[in-house]
Symmetry: none
Subunit: 221 residues, 2 copies
DNA sequence: TAAGTCCTTACGGATTTCCGTAATCGCAGG
DNA sequence: CCTGCGATTACGGAAATCCGTAAGGACTTA
């Protein structure tokens, strides 16, 4: 089993929870923690330079801002930077994100080794994930493996952006202007109409207001 | 210090984190945990009947649904039901919610003893909170004490009803019809327009969709 | 009684939404 | 090569939204 692990997670209680689980569930003793990305990076670099490198990083994705100004503000940057000095480090992401496409992106672009969703069954999943990653496996969460069979509506980034803008009260014309300004395609009003119609169907919404209400209730926004 | 505590929190890692903190930070040994509201309630009742009652409940507000069908689905119901059998039980709510009006509502209507926000400094806050509640204090989180108490919009029942209907996708004409059928006055489209305009002003909303999004975010709906 | 205020209602018009139809383009398969 | 499919774009029209003006009724206050 891994002998030296770093946990990067800004929410203290979650941080302590992770430590407790991998300590008691897997018998790992040498566990270090960080509440800030930059701090995690420095700990990593120092351990590497001292020839006592970490073997596993368990990190959150989002780190809230506070008084300590950070260079890195997300787990993604942290992983990228750590991989530069220690390319083969095993990485498990532990995050709220449950959208399959988002999670898949992490595996594809960031080449992480495992993902655990914050949730009701995170203890067992985390233990399984660490064990799997130690064996050399790539451990996908149930949210992804079961996604194909579920009737969950999959939203891509464009959909999320649309819903976000609408919930901020922008009209479709304003959204079009914004997209053109940001050079994001597609950016025609009729395409946006089409995408919205699809969302209406998917969520069985009667109009934009209803749609935003539904998505807010589902916590997708 | 408290000697027997129940932690109700569906996210396992957070659950473990809370236990670790109050165990190591406060030296409390007899800590029980529940991932479901109903389970927490049953543990509570049994302990009370066995004359070994809990002295403190630390509970989350939202509990995700899963395969186990629950009677109680939120921490609010849990607290209400537990208070019926043990009115003086101390209650600390530990939740994501950071909106002052929502949190204040918990103190006023649910008469809880303390509140801790899931966040970066939750460990210290939780320890302080438990200590304060043990002394008999009511422990408000910094989010509330530091909040300015001015920008509160007061909604009457008619406003709430309007917002509710709109968020369910009804058009104003449909709302008018519904009001007339229910013999509720006022019920003209232009009055509804007026009321809505006022809500737009109050919440600085640009249109209906924006308004519903804001109200949903504020947790008023 | 008269004036002022607030609530309700009516109406019109500029704008936006919602939903059709249809044309164009890139692209994979036969 | 061509055919079909999906994504994008354009356009139009009925309905709905948003916001202004205005009028009538209920109430208080002088």
């Amino acid at each position: 089993m891994f002998t030296k692990v770093l946990v990067a997670e800004d929410y203290e209680i979650a941080n302590q929870g992770i430590i407790k689980v991998i300590e008691e569930g897997l018998g790992i003793q040498n566990i270090h923690e960080s509440k800030y990305c930059d701090d995690a990076y420095l700990k990593f670099r120092k351990a590497f330079q001292d020839n006592e490198p970490f073997e596993l990083l368990i990190t959150d994705l989002s780190f809230k801002e506070d008084h300590k100004v950070q260079i890195r503000t997300s787990g993604i940057e942290l992983v990228q930077d750590i991989r530069k000095i220690q390319p083969n480090i095993k990485v498990i992401v532990y995050s709220q994100e449950s959208r399959p496409d988002k999670i898949n992106m992490l595996f594809q672009k960031l080449d992480i080794n495992g993902y655990v969703c914050k949730g009701q069954h995170a203890v067992k999943e985390l233990v399984n994930c660490v064990q799997g990653v130690f064996r050399g496996d790539t451990v996908l969460p149930p949210e992804v493996t079961e996604a194909s069979t579920d009737n969950i509506v999959n939203l891509d980034d464009f959909d999320i952006m649309l819903l976000e803008e609408l919930s901020q009260g922008l009209t479709k014309k304003e959204i079009v202007q914004k997209l053109k300004k940001l050079k994001i395609t597609p950016n025609s009003e009729s395409t946006i109409d089409k995408k919205l119609s699809k969302l209406f169907d998917d969520f069985k919404a009667k109009n934009t207001t209803h749609l935003v209400a539904i998505v807010k209730d589902l916590g997708l926004l």
